[in-house]
């Protein structure tokens, strides 16, 4: 097996770029919507065969075992070429959870299926009454013989209508002192009589997220990850993975590349005001990447990330939004027009980028909550 970390950064970049350019299907570049798995399956098969599905996982579990700098290059090349991230909840969230807290049986069973996308995952945390206040969740799982019986409702579950499995936080103990106690992490199958999925239409007219209703749904007790009633601590550990992932420069880099293409096509670089604003956001992206690699290196050295990792998410999502707002300004009189705007023979979907950027300051821990965390835990206020 190749030791990717032994390559120089330049060699590694050339390797990744070469593969994407040669193998990534042209029609899937810079997709403006979140694809269902069937749409990208042919690409996933290639990526899987290459062993490149999970760049951050350790090699023993089928990942690439990339160190921080290499991981960054991987994401950069992915964004640059417009390679879709695929159905990666399993890779980004469930995998790390199982690797960290799962039993050997769970690792042996689930990890290969995550890599092959035989199982496609969605994340069942939020509920109507439990958004920022996640610990307020009410969906319950009660032990019944060898099973858990699940009742309740999840909401905002991204791509639940195209998932085979859900990893969820549920309440397994009603009689606790604090609401953070008595919560457990379980895995469940979506295709069963007690689970009903309804899609929710976004303001962009897309159906990306769903409501998921549980009415006596079942999952084997073997699908509990970690200790019962101790899910909150694990969820927090997972959130720190999520926060570094969600704080990665990719989305902003991709949007910046789109802005540059579009602005060139529209002659905006002749305008002194635009030049200044472009340079501002470009530097916002570049310097964020520098901070990102600092955190990523920390992870690589095996250190746990502190609360200060929240800075990444705040900065990158707000930069991302500013970039897409700037795209709308460049679009000028076409700023309200849906669908790709032609510049030369390329189409840039300005509104779709704008729409995608909006909720990034809401999901993955709203930016207000991230700022609360930083002010308390980092600044000691």
């Amino acid at each position: 097996m190749t030791d990717w970390n032994a390559l120089s950064d330049a060699e590694f970049r050339a390797e990744i770029r070469g593969f994407f350019e040669a193998e990534y299907p042209e029609e899937l570049r810079h997709l403006s919507h979140r694809p269902k798995f069937a749409e990208i399956e042919h690409w996933h098969v290639k990526l899987h065969a290459k062993g490149w599905v999970a760049p951050a996982w350790p090699t023993e579990y089928g990942g690439m075992g990339l160190e921080a700098a290499k991981l960054l290059i991987y994401y950069e090349e992915q964004q640059r070429y417009g390679v879709n991230r695929g159905r990666d909840m399993g890779i980004q969230m469930v995998g790390p959870l199982i690797i960290k807290f799962g039993t050997q049986e769970q690792k042996d069973y689930w990890l290969p299926r995550i890599l092959s996308c035989e199982n496609i995952w969605c994340q069942g945390y939020s509920e109507p009454g439990a958004g920022s206040d996640l610990a307020n969740l009410r969906t319950s799982a009660v032990i019944d013989g060898d099973d858990f019986v699940i009742n309740g409702q999840k909401i905002w579950t991204t791509m639940a209508h195209d998932a085979t499995h859900i990893f969820m936080l549920v309440r397994t103990n009603q009689n606790t002192e604090r609401k953070q106690q008595g919560i457990s992490f379980i895995l469940a199958e979506m295709d069963q009589p007690g689970v009903e999925v309804r899609t929710i239409t976004t303001l962009a007219g897309e159906t990306e997220f769903c409501e998921v209703f549980f009415d006596d749904a079942r999952t084997p007790r073997a699908n509990l990850v970690g200790e019962i009633d101790k899910g909150w601590t694990m969820a927090k550990a997972l959130l720190s993975f999520e926060r570094i992932f969600i704080g990665n420069p990719g989305l902003a880099q991709n949007a910046l590349a789109q802005l540059e293409t579009f602005a060139k096509g529209r002659g905006a670089f002749d305008d002194a005001v635009f030049r200044d604003r472009f340079a501002t956001v470009a530097l916002d992206v570049e310097d964020h990447a520098a901070l990102y690699s600092r955190f990523a290196d920390q992870l690589k050295r095996g250190e746990t990330l502190g609360a200060d990792v929240s800075m990444l998410k705040i900065w990158v999502t707000e930069t991302y939004q500013r970039i897409t707002e700037l795209m709308i300004e460049v679009a000028g009189p076409d700023g309200g027009t849906l669908g790709p705007l032609q510049v030369g023979n390329i189409g840039v979907d300005v509104l779709s980028s704008f729409y995608k950027a909006r909720p990034s300051t809401i999901y993955g821990g709203a930016n207000e909550i991230q700022r609360n965390i930083l002010s308390k835990a980092v600044l000691g206020l």
Partner: protein, 369 residues
């Protein structure tokens, strides 16, 4: 100024807002969008019956002669419920051009009575946005060229077109089914469409020609710009109202989210942006009524649009953020308001464009002194 005038405006606001609320409020915009009809002909008729369409047309031309501030009041109310009917384009551009250039044409009376929706095609597309020149040419009774960003064009309505002719600019009318006319609709974020038109030796009827056309066009555009700003003010206020209601009722951490100081300060900033915009836009509309010259009118119109577009974009985006995920759904009205703000901000020039125009107009006025 006079309290009598204030009272007239208050009554006008009341009757228009009642009419629009009865018709269905903000939610109606979603229904109309999903029906794909563009707008509601019944509501259009009711607005016409209420005198809305002739509000700024002089009495001698068959209107109410209440001037721009009154039209502004109507535009704010239209914005508050994001009514999909193209009131501002029709009042300011279609009717505005006719009452200035050919008050005796029966089309004016028809339009004020709500029997026809008059769209005006005046902008043309250049390589990187709006072209400064008018290339669409009228000669020998036919029109050749293209136009873009036409708002409020009905399927079988005639269109008024600004073209160049041997005598400067001309205002001409083209029938909906005229030979050599092709239309392409660009779907907008709020479900409406902007039409791109192409004419190739298309028969057209001339309504006015000469220097008067450029003057009337400049005035009509300034009116449309400032009234769109008023519409954005109404829209922003609706967005803020919904957000205030929401943050008072949504609870997290066992408290209304509106009890968190950061949310309170953000709501106050939204309120400030709104009040500044409302004051600025209303003053602009009043100043335009008595503007000494076209430059001063254009400056006021740009001032209004620059401010209102900025406020509306900020307020509608912040509204989504303070709602959290529900704000990102189609089911909640704040999303409709955001989508409408995108369209109105872009139409007739966005904030950056109008800041530039404002400064240019100001410099031109100073140079002329």
């Amino acid at each position: 100024m006079t309290t009598e005038q204030d009272e007239d405006l208050r009554l006008l606001r009341d009757s228009v807002s009642k009419l629009l609320d009865r018709a269905g409020g903000v939610g109606r915009a979603r229904r109309v969008r999903d029906d794909g009809a563009g707008w509601d002909a019944t509501v259009w008729g009711e607005l016409a019956d209420a005198g809305v369409l002739g509000v700024a047309t002089p009495e001698e031309a068959g209107g109410l002669g209440m001037g721009l501030p009154a039209a502004g009041v109507i535009a704010e109310e239209i914005g508050r419920v994001i009514a999909p009917e193209p009131v501002v384009p029709c009042v300011a551009l279609g009717i505005g051009l006719l009452h200035r250039l050919c008050p005796d044409d029966p089309a004016l009376e028809n339009a004020i009575a709500g029997q026809a929706v008059l769209a005006v095609a005046w902008q043309e597309r250049g390589p990187s946005g709006v072209s400064d020149a008018v290339d669409c040419e009228f000669s020998g009774g036919t029109l050749t060229g293209s136009k873009d960003w036409v708002m409020g064009l009905g399927d079988d309505a005639p269109v008024l077109v600004i073209a160049k002719s041997s005598d400067g600019l001309a205002l001409v009318r083209v029938a909906a089914d005229a030979k050599g006319l092709t239309k392409k609709a660009a779907r907008q974020s709020d479900g409406s469409s902007l039409a791109a038109l192409n004419f190739s030796a298309t028969p057209a009827e001339v309504l006015a020609e000469g220097a008067a056309v450029s003057t009337a066009l400049a005035d009509a555009i300034a009116d449309a710009t400032a009234l769109t700003a008023a519409e954005l003010v109404g829209l922003s206020s609706a967005s803020l109202t919904l957000t205030l209601e929401y943050i008072k009722t949504r609870e997290q951490f066992d408290k209304p989210i509106g009890s968190f100081q950061v949310i309170q300060h953000r709501a106050v900033d939204m309120q400030l942006m709104l009040e500044i915009a409302e004051a600025g836009v209303r003053e602009s509309l009043a100043a335009m009524e008595n503007a000494p010259n076209p430059q001063a009118r254009a400056r006021q119109a740009s001032r209004a649009k620059a401010r209102a577009a900025t406020a509306a974009q900020n307020i509608t985006r912040e509204a989504i953020q303070l709602h959290g995920a529900v704000g990102y759904t189609d089911e909640f009205d704040v999303g409709l308001l955001l989508n409408r703000a995108l369209v109105l901000s872009a139409w007739l020039g966005d904030a950056a464009y109008h800041r530039r125009r404002w400064l240019e107009a100001r410099e031109a006025e100073e140079a002329a002194q």
